[in-house]
Amino acid sequence: MSNVQFTIQGLKAQVEGKEILKGVDIEIKGGEIHAIMGPNGTGKSTLASAVMGHPVYEVTDGSITLNGEDVLEMEVDERARAGLFLAMQYPSEIAGVTNADFLRSAINARRSEGDEISLIKFIRQMEGSMNKLSIDPQFMHRYLNEGFSGGEKKRNEILQMAMLDPKICILDEIDSGLDIDALKIVADGVNEMRSEERGFLIITHYQRLLNYISPDFVHVMMQGRIVRSGGPELAQRLENDGYEWLKEELGIEDETVGQETEEFQMPMNTTAPKY
């Protein structure tokens, strides 16, 4: 029995007063890989951000727990220290803060005062992880994500994940902007981290990544909900046939959420043109 248990129940969240998540349920245990697929604009990143606690996303209903602890009660940094990790779709660039200083601060934040990781041990560990991910060791002293290419940023997210040893890893579109070689490297990095002590939630709108990281469960998100769950065969079907069949089955026309298509409205009180 794994001792990691991550549960999202009935999660509703809004941004700027617009409801985006309309009741999401997911349960992830250690050792499991879950994939969330879905077209753009269906609420996948919103789910990831709400789980991590981004201040723009307001949770209005539902619960999130990690090993029984109430995640929604925690600040962003507490969530991270409790074991959540989010590899972001758009990682921030922070000038003046080196990759190494940033990661060391993150590691030390998990250790008590006086028990900080020694510089030499840290450097070895970081070099080792960078090597595995084929990241140029120079990047250690580069400013955090500043001037990194899309692919370099994604690999840097995986580097952080590898070094912070989280319990639940959420990867948001980690495959976007990666060429096939980089994709394999990232997938290897993830596969290497697979363990009974860790669960994964992999968000993607392509099936491609799932050729390299085989999921145990696949969920499809539309209109801010999980509309279908299944095994790896569901991802395969989506790859072959696209999303149309599913939309048809579900009677969904517009799968997105929060993007009200502005309906044309007859202006009131108009007078007909006079001839």
Partner: protein, 434 residues
């Protein structure tokens, strides 16, 4: 003259100090003329800053220090501030006069002059007369005039043609007696093709009343010379810091300024590169941290006369509490300076709702064939950056600190002497941690 009675100095005290130092006639005359000007001229007009409301009169009187020959004999307060390592060439001034110097033989063998100003006026009178108050002039306003009239101490640097000075020339200016004047004059003359780095540290400790620090830095960079100037100021709340710095940069010469404004009191910092020669270049990097209710008026200025001259200026200010910073960047390109290129960036990071920050980029361009750019911003700590760092487990406080240090890093990391870089980091820390 009736106006003179309002000035914080008078003929008799200035003449007495000059005589005591054995100053040459030309300097005494210059001081007397400057004093007269000070009685007639107005205070400088600063952008959005009421300098007339600052403490502008507490100049103190000239007080000679107690010279020592060994580092060990220096007072504890001074010793604490000395570089721990890489001392190289060092002059220490306490209050109005130098009290210690260690300068290696190497320098004089190369023909380099590095000496305190009181010695320079006696031993190098002619050389000094050519340059003293020629880059910054007494006629400009009351502050420069008063400086010329009352300045005591400071250093004189002279680097002969094609000489490279390996180690930085270092100086420490410390004031611990508000009754003593503290207005040093720094003059650096770099002859053709020479190369020198000068680094200093201006500090107060244990002052019991208010004081004005009215300092002038003049740099003359002859053709193809390179001068690097770095300074860190840490003057107490009761000290008004009036620092006017200016360089004349001749053909293909280069001047670099690095300034760390870590004062607790009001500060006017005005630093100009006059790019006189073709192909001349300058670089300004300034950081400041505002705390309490201090008011900062920080100006960087590049004036292009030379063709193909280039300038770059960066100012970064972090503002806390109820502090105010007016940050001005002025790129002036004169007619005829074809091919000139000037860049400037002023950024102000506001950490408190009561702090005020103003970034004023000014491009004044009188020539067509030039390129110039500017960027300015006043903002708070970026929320997405904070979130990103916190999502890795870093606390909000720590993440904020990392972002602030990152904001200041482009300047801190450029300080050419490691011990001063560490000190600057420490002082940034002190100001941010209060």
């Amino acid at each position: 003259m009736t106006t003179e009675t309002l000035l914080p100095a008078n003929r008799d005290s200035i003449q007495a100090a000059s005589k005591a130092n054995g100053e040459p006639e030309w300097l005494i005359n210059l001081r007397m003329r400057a004093l007269e000007l000070a009685g007639q001229l107005e205070l400088p007009k600063l952008e959005k800053t009421r300098i007339d409301r600052w403490q502008m009169d507490a100049y103190g009187v000239n007080k000679a220090g107690q010279p020592v020959t060994e580092l060990e004999e220096l007072p504890e307060t001074v010793k604490e501030l000395l570089p721990q390592s890489d001392i190289g060439h060092l002059i220490v001034q306490r209050n109005s006069a130098a009290i210690y110097a260690t300068i290696s033989e190497e320098l004089s063998k190369q023909g380099v002059i590095y000496t305190d100003m009181a010695t320079a006026v006696r031993d190098h009178s002619e050389l000094l007369q050519q340059h003293f108050m020629s880059v910054v002039k007494p006629e400009e306003h009351r502050v420069t005039a008063l400086h010329a009239a009352v300045c005591q101490g400071g250093v004189f640097v002279y680097v002969p043609k094609n000489v490279r000075v390996e180690l930085p020339l270092q100086a420490l200016y410390i004031t611990d007696d508000a009754a003593a004047s503290f207005s040093p004059h720094i003059l650096i003359v770099a002859e053709q093709g020479s190369d020198v780095t000068y680094v200093d540290n201006v500090v107060s400790t244990g002052l019991r009343s208010e004081l004005v620090h009215n300092a002038v830095v003049e740099i003359v960079a002859k053709p193809s010379a390179t001068v690097r100037f770095a300074t860190v100021h840490r003057l107490d709340k009761g000290v008004t810091d009036l620092s006017t710095r200016r360089a004349i940069v001749e053909q293909d010469a280069r001047v670099e300024w690095i300034l760390g404004e870590m004062n607790d009191g009001n500060c006017m910092s005005d630093t100009t590169s006059i790019l006189k020669g073709n192909g001349s270049s300058s670089d300004h990097k300034v950081i400041c941290v505002g705390t309490g209710d201090q008011k900062l008026n920080i100006t960087t200025r590049a004036v292009h006369f030379g063709r193909q001259s280039t300038s770059d200026m960066i100012t970064r200010a972090v503002m806390r509490d109820e502090s105010t910073a007016i940050v001005n960047g002025i790129t002036k390109i004169e007619k005829g300076a074809t091919g000139a290129h000037g860049e400037q960036t002023e950024r102000v990071l506001m950490l408190s709702p009561k702090a005020r920050g103003d970034a004023n980029p000014m491009l004044l361009i009188d020539e067509d064939e030039v390129t110039a750019g500017h960027a300015a911003s006043v903002g708070q700590v970026n929320k997405d950056q904070l979130y990103y760092m916190m999502s890795r487990g870093i606390s909000e406080d720590q993440a904020t600190r990392l972002i602030i240090y990152g904001f200041l890093a482009p300047v801190v990391s450029e300080i050419p002497v490691e011990s001063l870089e560490n000190k600057l980091s420490e002082w940034v820390e002190r100001k941010l941690g209060q």
